[in-house]
Amino acid sequence: MRIWRQAADLEDGALLAAVARGDRDAYAAFYHRHSATVLGLLFRILRSRADAEDVLQEVFLQVWRQADQFSATRGVPFVWLTTLARSRAFDRLEAIASRQRTVARAASAFVEVAPDTVDLATAAEDEGRLRRALVRVPDAQREVLLLAYFEGLSQSAIARRLQLPLGTVKSNARLGLVKLRQYIRGTRERAGR
């Protein structure tokens, strides 16, 4: 039986509330639920499995230490988790760039790593669904979303990269996300969620 995304968020909230009270079982459950998605995201940003795994550890240690602060905000746990992960990953990228290793990394930028053969059913299902939603977003908008989300570029950096006015970047970012949200809902409803 499929689980509603909202239900999953509620359950994540309950797990984090338990983590905030120092519950290690809840912490392990939260980790097993999201670690593969977060590691995939970190690998996409960092292009290095070793760096991605280091940052994964930093992110989950932060979850362990700050779950009590998060619980009080009543935000969406997955949004919090991925925001933490991206922020740490971009910090790491800066550190790497400052060590002037960017050239070597660019060469290995497109090495695909096969996921390990563990139960990836849920993550794969989400991946397929979200990919289908993303390809329906118009190219110009999708490009802005990807540069901002995975490359960590700011509005002006995106404008320079794409040679577009700032205003166009701004409206493409918003319209792209609005469409993505609409398509995600569409695929969820069709899937009976």
Partner: protein, 256 residues
């Protein structure tokens, strides 16, 4: 910043792509404008969906062990499991979580809820302090309860260090507390062992800045005999069987 200007910026905000002054101005607008806050939250969730568009990668067992072990060794969050959470019966390894069972979070949760409207930083600090007091009280109550046995761990090697294990066969809880332990050498952790019919790992830990450590574990019931406890130095994140030298040791007297 007008409402219309702010609304236009919500996409960049959700993607974390806003810069300097605009980010500050939007943050100010969001504190006052509920519709924009709702829209921002919706767009943030859509943006977070992008994380699902890349292939997931399962961390290796070593990485998982390292990450879960790091939390175990993190004494800043060491806590005692509340009484209602105790494991009952042998062989139960994982509890199921249900949101309703978590609703009964007790007085601390009520205090936290009451503080939601107040200043964020102050609230976070109060939150942490409240949790710390609750944990400390739980620890004292556990150690003082009549069914609990305590075992002191000592060593000639570390004459200043003081440590004890408190355990309760009935509720299956075990707590280890140490003071004045030197920090473990780089790449190593302290590991606690419960020695009865066999040798069982009972958790790894490091020390805080003052040489203190608190560790909690489940006590696996064994035939009524006096257990021994020992601490060894092991390579991080811990090992299944002791390999390093024992730095502290102690045993229960009589029927354990």
């Amino acid at each position: 910043m007008t409402h219309a200007d702010a609304h236009e910026l919500l996409g960049l905000h959700a993607l974390g792509a806003l810069e300097g002054d605009q980010a500050t101005a939007l943050a100010r607008h969001l504190t006052d404008c509920a519709p924009c806050r709702d829209e921002a939250s919706e767009l943030e969730q859509a943006a977070a969906g992008l994380a699902h568009t890349v292939p997931p990668l399962v961390p290796s067992p070593q990485v998982t062990q390292r990450i879960l072990g790091a939390a175990n060794a993190d004494v800043s969050r060491a806590a005692i499991r509340p009484a209602e959470d105790r494991m009952r019966g042998a062989g139960v390894t994982r509890r199921r979580w249900h949101p309703l069972s978590l609703a009964a979070g007790g007085a601390l949760a009520a205090v936290v809820a009451g503080l939601v409207v107040s200043n964020l930083a102050l609230r976070a600090r109060l939150d942490r302090t409240g949790a710390m007091i609750a944990r400390g009280r739980d620890l004292l109550e556990f150690i003082a309860s009549p069914d609990v046995r305590t075992v002191a761990l000592t060593s000639d090697r570390l004459p200043r260090a003081r440590a004890f294990v408190a355990y309760d066969r009935r509720s299956e809880r075990l707590v280890f507390v140490a003071f004045d332990l030197p920090p473990p050498p780089p790449g190593q952790v302290y590991q606690l062992w419960a020695i009865g019919d066999g040798v069982r790992p009972a958790g790894v830990f490091s020390t805080d800045s003052r040489g203190g450590a608190v560790l909690r574990d489940r006590w696996s019931p064994e035939p009524a005999k006096a257990p021994l406890f020992a601490i060894s130095l092991e390579p991080a994140p811990g090992v299944p069987e002791p390999t390093g030298k024992m730095v502290l040791m102690g045993g229960a007297r009589g029927g354990g």
